[in-house]
C-alpha cells in the first residue's frame, strides 16, 4: 500500500456532510416527524437506593393527552440491557432502585409536555436504603450488595517481570495517590430516539447513537422479536464521545416497546438534566502509584493500584478496567510492572465509555509521577521521558513487542524542537506565576483485549461511475464518513464529490461492532480499502479491454481510466462502469477487515493486545494569577504519531476537540453529588468549556506508518484527552510548586493552595 503518489488521502478536505450541517437541513432524530407520533417521558426514581414497594399510575393515566403508562411487566423480553457481561441494567426497574436516574415507568402522551406532567404524577413508593456512595463504602466486607455478585464489577491484574525486585534495585522511588472526578460528555444534542412500527411486523428505530447494531440486538431481545425484524437507522448524531451507547439502548428499547404496544410512532427525547443524570459518565478514579528508577533516570519498576467508581451498572466498566490496566505504565520501556485495577458499583449514575476510556485517568497519575521523579532526579522532564520512551522492537507493559509504528520519540523530538524558551515572569511582574508541563501517552487502537475486531464494508459503483460506500461504523461528528470517502476515492480514482457514505442503517450494512476505541479509520478504513480494491479490479479489467492494453498500463484517476503510457488515451469511469455492468463484471463487493486477534494471558495481561498504538507528547505553558487562581494557557503543543493522516484538517479537529475535553476534565468539570444525587445537572452549574476557555492548541502530526491501517493510518479520536489533562496538571505544578493530586484542579483549588503556601 504505497504512500507515495497519494492524491486524496493526506489532503485536508472539508467534511462531506458540511453543507447540510451549516444550512440546518441535516435531520437529527428530534427533527423527524411521523404521523400520529406520541412522546415518552420516564418517571425516574429521584433517590439513589431503595426497595420499590409500588408504582401507581392511576392519576397519571387520567391526565389529558396520556395514552399509556408502561412499567416493567409491559416489556415482553427479559427487561435487561448492558454493553457486555454482566448485563445488569433493567430497562424499567421494578424491584430495586440503584441510582437516582433509574427509570421506573414510561409515560406516553400526545405531547412532550403532557408526558412530562404525567410522569411527575406517577406515584412511586420506595423504601429508601442508605446509599453506597464511594469506593471504600462499596468495598467494605459487610456492605450491602448493590448487585447479587457483590460490589466489585471487575478486577484484573497486569504482571510483567518482578516488581519487588525492580524496586529493590531502584535508587530513587516516588509514590503518590491521585484522584479524578466524574465527567459528563455534554454533547450538544441530548439523547433522542423515535420508534416507528412498520405495520409489517417490523419496527424501525431512528436514533442519535454510536453503535446501532448493539441497539438493534437489545431492542429485538426486549421485544421478543427476531433481530431481522428490527431496523435501526442512525440519524445525524449531535456528538457522542462514548456516551450514546447504553442510554440509546435504554430509550430505544422503551420507545420500541411503547410503539409496538400502541402501534404508533413514539419519540423519546431527553432533556439536558436527564441527559446528565440518566446516562453514563466518565469513571471517577483513585490511583496509587509507585515508580522506581536508577539515579540516571532509568525506570526499573512501576506499580499502580487503580480503583474506578463505576456507579450503579456495569456498562463498560469491565473494558475500562482493562484499558486503564494496560495503559497505566505509560509509553515507556519498563521491565517490571504490576498494576491492579478494580471497578466497583456505587449508588450513583453509572459510568462507561467516554473518549479516552480509562486512559486519561491513569495518564494524569502516571505523568504526574514522571514529573515527581524528574524533580527528585533533578532532570529535564522531557529528557527523562525520552530516555525511557518506548521504541520499535521494545516491549509494552503487556510484553507486546511493537516492531513498527512506534513514533513516541519522534513526538518528543518534535516537541523539543518547537518548545522554545518557557515564558517567565518579568522582573516587575509579581502577579503571575509561569510554568511549563509536558506529558507523554499511548493509546491502544482497535478493540484489542475487548474482543474480536471485524468491520465489513461494501463498495458499490453505479453505471454512472459514482460510488456508494457502506460501513457499519457511525459518524457522530468526528468525520469518518469523509475519511471513508477519501479512502474509496484514493483506491478507485473517483473524486470525493462522486462518493456517498450514508449513515448506518442496520438493514444495509454489515454489523461492524461498536464505533469505539479510535478504530474507525484503522479497521473500518481498511475494510473500505479492501472492498474498493475488489471493485477496482472489475473496473480495471473492463478498462483493459476498452483501452486495449495490459493491466499495469491502466490507472484510475479523477473519474477516468487512463493509459499510463499514453495519458491521451482515457475513458470516463462512467463508460467503464456501464460497460462493466453490461459485461457482467461485479460492481459491488462486501469485504471484511479483521484485526489480528488479541492473544494474552488473562491473569497477567501479558501478550499481544492492540494492533497499533497512537503515541503522543503534549507540552503546555501556563501562567497563573496569584490573586485569583486563574490559569491562562499560553501555549499547547500536541504531537501525535498517527501513522498517516488521511484528512489533516479532520485530524486537527479531533486533536483540538479532544484537547478541550481533556482541559475540561483537568481544570473545569466535575459532577457534584450530594447524598448520591447530582447537584449540577445543567450547563449553568456544570462548567462545559466555552469559547473563552479554548486552548491555543497546535497539532503536530508525526507519521510513522502503521502496517495494519489503510495507507499506514492510525486513529486519533481519543488520545489527546489524556495528553492535555496530564500536561495541564504538570504545568500547574511547575507554576505553583504545588503538586495537585486531584482533577479537576480548579481556580479555587489553586487559590487555596497558594494561600496556604
Amino acid at each position: 500500500m504505497s504512500r507515495e503518489n497519494l492524491r486524496v488521502v493526506g489532503r485536508g478536505i472539508a467534511k462531506v456532510d458540511g453543507p447540510e450541517l451549516v444550512t440546518g437541513q441535516a435531520k437529527f432524530t428530534g427533527d423527524l416527524k411521523f404521523p400520529g407520533m406520541l412522546y415518552g417521558v420516564a418517571r425516574r426514581a429521584g433517590i439513589p437506593a431503595g426497595r420499590i414497594r409500588s408504582i401507581d399510575d392511576s392519576e397519571a393515566l387520567g391526565l389529558p393527552g396520556v395514552r399509556a403508562v408502561l412499567s416493567a411487566e409491559d416489556i415482553p423480553g427479559p427487561n435487561i440491557i448492558g454493553i457486555l457481561p454482566p448485563f445488569d441494567q433493567p430497562v424499567l426497574a421494578s424491584e430495586e432502585v440503584r441510582y437516582e436516574g433509574e427509570s421506573l415507568a414510561l409515560v406516553v402522551a400526545e405531547s412532550r409536555e403532557a408526558a412530562k406532567r404525567a410522569a411527575a404524577a406517577v406515584r412511586v413508593d420506595i423504601d429508601p436504603w442508605e446509599p453506597i456512595l464511594d469506593i471504600d463504602a462499596a468495598l467494605k466486607p459487610d456492605s450491602r450488595k448493590i448487585h447479587p455478585g457483590g460490589n466489585i464489577t471487575f478486577s484484573k491484574k497486569l504482571i510483567k517481570g518482578d516488581v519487588e525486585k525492580g524496586f529493590a534495585e531502584a535508587e530513587v522511588v516516588v509514590e503518590n495517590t491521585y484522584q479524578t472526578s466524574f465527567q459528563e460528555h455534554a454533547y450538544l444534542e441530548p439523547e433522542t430516539v423515535a420508534a416507528v412500527p412498520g405495520g409489517d411486523g417490523r419496527i424501525t428505530v431512528y436514533a442519535s447513537c454510536q453503535s446501532p447494531f448493539h441497539i438493534r440486538g437489545h431492542i429485538a431481545a426486549n421485544l421478543n422479536l427476531p433481530a431481522s425484524r428490527v431496523k435501526v437507522v442512525q440519524a445525524y448524531t449531535g456528538g457522542s464521545f462514548g456516551g450514546k451507547d447504553d442510554v440509546a439502548t435504554e430509550i430505544g428499547c422503551l420507545a420500541a416497546v411503547a410503539a409496538v404496544k400502541l402501534q404508533k410512532p413514539v419519540m423519546i427525547a431527553h432533556e439536558r438534566g436527564e441527559s446528565i443524570i440518566g446516562s453514563n459518565l466518565r469513571h471517577a478514579a483513585r490511583i496509587h502509584y509507585r515508580t522506581g528508577s536508577l539515579k540516571d533516570g532509568t525506570i526499573l519498576a512501576r506499580e499502580a493500584r487503580i480503583f474506578l467508581d463505576g456507579g450503579a451498572y456495569a456498562s463498560e466498566s469491565p473494558f475500562v478496567t482493562m484499558k486503564a490496566l494496560i495503559h497505566a505504565a505509560g509509553p515507556y520501556n519498563i521491565p517490571n510492572v504490576l498494576v491492579e485495577c478494580t471497578a466497583v458499583y456505587t449508588n450513583k449514575t453509572y459510568c462507561g465509555a467516554f473518549r479516552g476510556f480509562g486512559v486519561p485517568q491513569v495518564t494524569f497519575a502516571s505523568e504526574s509521577q514522571l514529573d515527581e521523579l524528574a524533580a527528585e532526579l533533578n532532570m529535564d522532564p522531557l529528557e527523562l521521558r525520552r530516555n525511557n520512551g518506548l521504541q520499535a522492537g521494545q516491549a509494552t507493559a503487556t510484553g507486546q513487542v511493537l516492531e513498527k509504528s512506534v513514533g513516541l520519540l519522534q513526538t518528543i523530538d518534535r516537541i523539543a524542537e518547537r518548545r522554545g524558551q518557557a515564558s517567565r515572569a518579568a522582573p516587575d511582574e509579581e502577579r503571575w506565576l509561569y510554568g511549563r508541563g509536558c506529558a507523554c501517552l499511548l493509546q491502544g487502537i482497535s478493540n484489542g483485549a475487548e474482543g474480536i475486531d471485524v468491520v465489513g464494508a461494501s463498495v458499490q459503483v453505479s453505471q454512472d461511475g459514482s460510488v456508494l460506500v457502506g460501513v457499519g461504523l457511525t459518524d457522530m461528528g468526528q468525520g469518518s464518513r469523509t475519511v471513508f470517502a477519501q479512502i474509496a476515492a484514493e483506491v478507485l480514482g473517483v473524486t470525493v464529490d462522486r462518493i456517498t457514505v450514508p449513515h448506518v442503517d442496520t438493514d444495509s450494512v454489515h454489523d461492524s461492532g461498536p464505533t469505539v476505541a479510535s478504530r474507525s479509520t484503522t479497521v473500518g478504513g481498511m475494510a473500505v480499502y479492501k472492498a474498493a480494491g475488489a471493485v477496482k479490479a472489475s473496473l480495471v479489467k473492463m478498462a483493459v479491454l476498452m483501452l486495449n492494453c495490459g493491466e499495469e498500463q491502466v490507472r484510475l484517476e479523477e473519474n477516468f481510466a487512463v493509459r499510463t503510457d499514453n495519458p491521451e488515451a482515457r475513458i470516463s469511469l462512467q463508460e467503464v462502469a456501464t460497460a462493466a455492468y453490461w459485461t457482467g463484471f461485479p460492481l459491488m463487493h462486501l469485504t471484511f477487515s479483521r484485526a489480528p486477534d488479541a492473544q494474552f494471558d488473562h491473569e497477567t495481561h501479558q501478550g499481544n493486545i492492540y494492533i497499533a498504538y497512537n503515541f503522543g507528547t503534549h507540552l503546555m505553558d501556563v501562567r497563573i494569577d496569584r490573586l485569583t487562581g486563574r490559569v491562562e494557557v499560553l501555549r499547547h503543543l500536541a504531537a501525535h504519531d498517527i501513522g498517516q493522516a488521511v484528512n489533516p484538517l479532520g485530524v486537527e479537529g479531533q486533536v483540538e476537540g479532544a484537547a478541550l475535553i481533556g482541559f475540561g476534565m483537568a481544570h473545569l468539570e466535575r459532577i457534584e453529588h450530594e447524598g448520591g444525587c447530582i447537584q449540577n445537572a445543567n450547563f449553568a452549574d456544570y462548567a462545559v468549556p466555552s469559547i473563552k476557555d479554548r486552548l491555543p492548541t497546535e497539532t503536530i502530526i508525526v507519521e510513522d506508518p502503521n502496517p495494519t491501517g489503510p495507507f499506514g493510518a492510525k486513529g486519533i479520536g481519543e488520545p489527546p484527552v489524556a495528553g492535555t489533562a496530564a500536561a495541564f496538571a504538570n504545568a500547574v505544578a511547575a507554576a505553583t510548586g504545588v503538586r495537585f493530586t486531584r482533577l479537576p484542579i480548579r481556580r479555587e483549588d489553586i487559590l487555596a493552595a497558594l494561600e496556604e503556601q
Partner: protein, 169 residues
C-alpha cells in the same frame, strides 16, 4: 393569538397559543428544524435565532414576543429561491473545519452573523464575546474563530450582512 412577523424575509401569519415557546413555533409549527434545542434553559445557545438582528435564545422566548419583529433562522441564510449559494459564514465554517457534529452550528453561525452585521472586522476578543453563549463540545472552538475571521476578511465590510436573508440586512 394571531402572530404576524417577518420570517427569513417573508411575512408570516400564524395562529398560536400565547404560551408557546418561539423555539417550538419554529420547529413544531413552522417546520424549521434547523434551530436546535440543547438545554431548554438558555445555557447552550443551540436554539439561537436573530430577532431584529440580535441573537436570542429561542427556548427562553415566548412566541408572542415575535409579534412585528424580523426573525432570521439558519434557513434564512441561504437564498430562498433554492439556489445553492451559501452565506460566507457557512462557506467558512465548512472550509475551516469549524463543523463536527453540527448541532451547535446553526446557532453559532447566527451569533456570528449578528456580530459581523454590527462589526464587519471584529478582533478575536469581539468574536469570543459574541460567541460566548454558544457551546460547542466537538471542535475546541479554534476553528470556529478562524471561520468567523475568514468570513469577515473574505467578504470585506458587510460580509455578514447578506441582504438575502432579510433578517437584518
Amino acid at each position: 393569538m394571531l402572530l404576524e412577523f417577518e420570517l427569513n424575509g417573508k411575512q408570516t401569519r400564524v395562529e398560536v397559543e400565547p404560551t408557546l415557546r418561539a423555539l417550538d413555533l419554529l420547529r413544531e409549527v413552522l417546520g424549521l428544524t434547523g434551530t436546535k434545542e440543547g438545554c431548554g434553559r438558555g445555557e447552550c445557545g443551540a436554539c439561537t435565532i436573530l430577532v431584529d438582528g440580535e441573537p436570542v435564545n429561542s427556548c427562553l422566548l415566548y412566541a408572542a414576543k415575535l409579534q412585528g419583529r424580523k426573525i432570521t433562522t439558519i434557513e434564512g441564510l441561504t437564498a430562498e429561491d433554492g439556489a445553492k449559494e451559501l452565506h460566507p459564514l457557512q462557506e467558512a465554517f465548512i472550509s475551516e473545519g469549524a463543523v463536527q457534529c453540527g448541532f451547535c452550528t446553526p446557532g453559532m453561525i447566527l451569533s456570528a452573523k449578528s456580530l459581523l452585521d454590527r462589526n464587519p472586522e471584529p478582533d478575536v476578543q469581539a468574536i469570543e464575546e459574541a460567541l460566548s453563549g454558544n457551546l460547542c463540545r466537538c471542535t475546541g472552538y479554534g476553528k470556529i474563530v478562524k471561520a468567523v475571521q475568514k468570513a469577515a476578511a473574505g467578504g470585506g465590510p458587510g460580509a455578514g450582512g447578506s441582504a438575502r436573508s432579510g433578517g437584518s440586512g
